[in-house]
């Protein structure tokens, strides 16, 4: 199925980002039930229906060109959003190989890769890139290999070094995080970077069990999970570093603008083993949808109403929803037949 890319849209200032009906139809709605609680919601990343966001290892959609332009803007202001510790150089090459191989195989109309030994030719048609380089020799690329390839792939990427039975955030490209920062988490262990998550997740043993599972991920057998939060405006870069630019927008939600201002933000997290470095790749592919767009599917709106209404305060606080949660719940109520009847 061929992906048709939209003309340039923005994720800041005038916020022209919108989803087409096709993009709405394939949105990864994250709630299997009417309520939400933390769990070890990991599953083998077996490909699902063609056209769905689960069809390929690395999903490319209509926003590709815009999202890559947004990444370039963030990096221009803050080049440190990409970080590769010296011992992660091989993991960076692993990531480049994995992305190029999969993009070229899954989207042949957009990407192509020719390999002759270490001499590679990479073509990226949407971004107008043709690059000859020597695999393993960073001097033959315009920039460091992880930065090079993740400037051409949607979503954030963290590269975890595996040692001492734990994972360490020793490299990454993070320009669209949901209120965290690679600079802050750099070098931390799995438990350390998850420390801010509400106590209930720790009490349920989520992180202990998840880590055991992750360190055993094998080459060729990636796993995935969905995570979610909410964002005001279709803003991709809600990083802790720029909180001063977006934090105050949480106070701007009113009954009139709630449907267009508030967005459900879903992360499709994808975890493959990097074969040569034995590092773990953690892809965070972010999907944004306004409540208005989401309500074009009333079943989703109904379920989201129940989830948000009943969400434990501790979790709502952590996700930064507290100031506008009630306004959202009030608007969504119209889609919940049970609540309307009551």
């Amino acid at each position: 199925m061929s992906v048709v890319m939209k003309a340039l849209e923005t994720y800041r200032d005038d916020f022209t980002f919108r989803n087409s009906p096709e993009a709405i139809a394939r949105f990864p709605f994250p709630f299997p039930e009417d309520s939400y609680m933390y769990s070890v919601n990991l599953e083998p990343a077996t490909p699902r229906e063609p056209g769905s966001v689960f069809a390929h290892w690395f999903d490319i959609d209509e926003h590709y060109v815009s999202e890559m332009a947004e990444r370039a803007r963030v990096l221009e202001r803050d080049p440190d959003r990409c970080l590769v510790m010296p011992h992660m150089a091989q993991a960076a090459w692993d990531t480049l190989e994995m992305l190029m191989e999969h993009l070229a195989a899954d989207y042949p109309e957009h990407f192509a890769l020719q390999r002759e030994g270490a001499q590679w030719l990479w073509s990226n048609r949407p971004l107008g890139i043709e690059q000859r380089f020597t695999f393993g020799d960073a001097s033959t690329l315009p920039c460091e290999p992880l930065e090079y390839i993740t400037r051409q792939a949607q979503g954030d990427f963290a590269l975890l070094d595996q040692r001492d039975g734990d994972l360490f955030m020793d490299a990454g490209m993070v320009t669209c995080p949901a209120d965290w920062s690679l600079k802050f988490d750099a070098g931390m262990s799995f438990k350390q970077w998850h420390a801010p998550v509400p106590g209930v997740a720790h009490q349920l043993g989520v992180f202990e069990r998840a880590l055991k599972y992750l360190v055993n991920i094998q080459v060729g057998h990636p796993v995935r999970r969905l995570n979610w939060t909410m964002t005001i405006n279709p803003r991709l870069d809600t990083s802790s570093e720029t909180f001063h630019e977006w934090g105050h927008e949480r106070g701007e939600v009113t009954a009139e603008n709630v449907a267009s201002l508030v967005h459900l933000r879903v992360e499709l997290q994808f975890m493959p083993r990097l074969p040569r470095s034995n590092a773990l790749l953690f892809g965070i592919r972010t999907y944004l949808i306004s409540l208005e767009e989401l309500a074009s599917n009333p079943a989703w709106a109904c379920r989201l109403h129940r989830v948000l209404r009943d969400l434990p305060d501790e979790i709502a606080d952590y996700k930064g929803l507290t100031r506008y949660r009630q306004t959202v719940v009030d608007w969504l109520r119209q889609f919940d037949p049970q609540a309307c009847a009551a």
Partner: protein
């Protein structure tokens, strides 16, 4: 082990009277990359039954065009190594699992001390390629018997120079575990692959010298050893399975069509953990603690007793 790769034997070399090296090439497409210290399971279709043995990958991880393994003929084995030595020829096709790594290099080590006994040299062949490519600081200590288990000695000596330390048992040379660990730079990591007593000795010395456990790494594959036959009962389905003396419980379950997740098939990874409700158990794994052993066992290595059926929570 879920997906299997189809490979063809591209080359066979007899390295010593008891060590034979095999090179595998992909039948379709490209073999997945691997990291140094990885192993693969090789499916061995013996006449009487199918075995899956784990072998370390020897090659340079930067060049994953082919996979190489080296196999020591084990007299007391269940027939897997004998099959590889006597039956498998260039051009034959075999099935193998995808590489997985339970013995990785530590990325932050300042200095790597590799200690191999005999066929334990195999994971270090990939380590050495990786360490040399990284320009890392390392030394190799290799205990062998010339004319029997001295695979790769000449090549390694020439390649590594002063970083190679050989100990030939045939010449009465012994690896001195006490000396090996003294005066090493802070941030040194020790990797051991060899017989149990070498491992025990080095671990004891390291502990006595105050080395923290995190600086010691070993590959402790306990290949399933033969034992006595026993019976397992699957309490959920009521199915009864007879486990022969030279089958592991995991193999018997698989033969009966019961899939149990597994990775190492050597009692170290924890993947095959299975609950049991009763019966005598001979625990042979390196994973569970005493408390867990009261209700969980590792069917890849551990066995039931002969007093009555082992009741599995399956």
């Amino acid at each position: 082990m879920s997906a299997l790769l189809e490979v063809q034997v591209a080359a066979v070399r007899q390295l010593t009277p008891v060590v034979r090296e095999f090179t595998f090439a992909a039948v379709n497409g490209r073999l997945p990359g691997f990291s140094s210290g990885s192993h693969v399971q090789v499916v061995l279709p013996l006449a009487e039954r199918t075995l899956r043995n784990a072998y370390s990958l020897l090659g340079d991880p930067r060049d994953s065009g082919v996979y190489r393994i080296a196999v020591r003929l084990q007299e007391a084995s269940r027939g897997g190594s004998r099959y590889l030595h006597e039956q498998v020829q260039v051009g034959d096709r075999l099935q193998i699992g995808v590489p997985s790594n339970l013995f990785p290099l530590h990325s932050l080590a300042r200095h790597h001390i590799l200690v191999a006994g005999g066929i334990g040299i195999t994971p270090f062949m990939a380590y050495l390629a990786e360490l040399e490519a990284q320009g890392a600081s390392f030394e190799l200590h290799y205990a062998y018997r010339s004319g029997l288990t001295d695979a790769y000695t000449a090549e390694l000596q020439a390649r590594l120079g002063a970083r190679f330390h050989g100990y030939d048992a045939a010449a009465g040379q012994r690896l001195d575990c006490a000396n090996l660990l003294t005066g090493k730079p802070l941030g040194s990591h020790l990797y051991i692959c060899g017989p149990q007593r070498l491992l025990d000795d080095l671990r004891a010395r390291a502990a006595a010298l105050g080395w923290s456990a995190g600086r010691l790494h070993w590959e402790a594959f306990a290949a399933p050893e033969p034992g006595l036959p026993f019976t397992a009962e699957l309490t959920r389905s009521g199915q009864r399975i007879a486990v022969a003396g030279d089958h592991s419980l995991l193999e018997a379950l698989e033969a009966a069509g019961v899939e149990v997740p597994n990775l190492c098939r050597g009692g170290v990874c924890g993947q095959c953990a299975t609950g049991y409700l009763g019966g005598e158990v001979e625990h042979r794994d390196h994973y569970l603690d005493e408390q867990q052993r009261s209700h969980v066992l590792m069917p890849c290595v551990s066995r039931g007793g002969c007093s009555g059926p082992l009741l599995l929570d399956l």
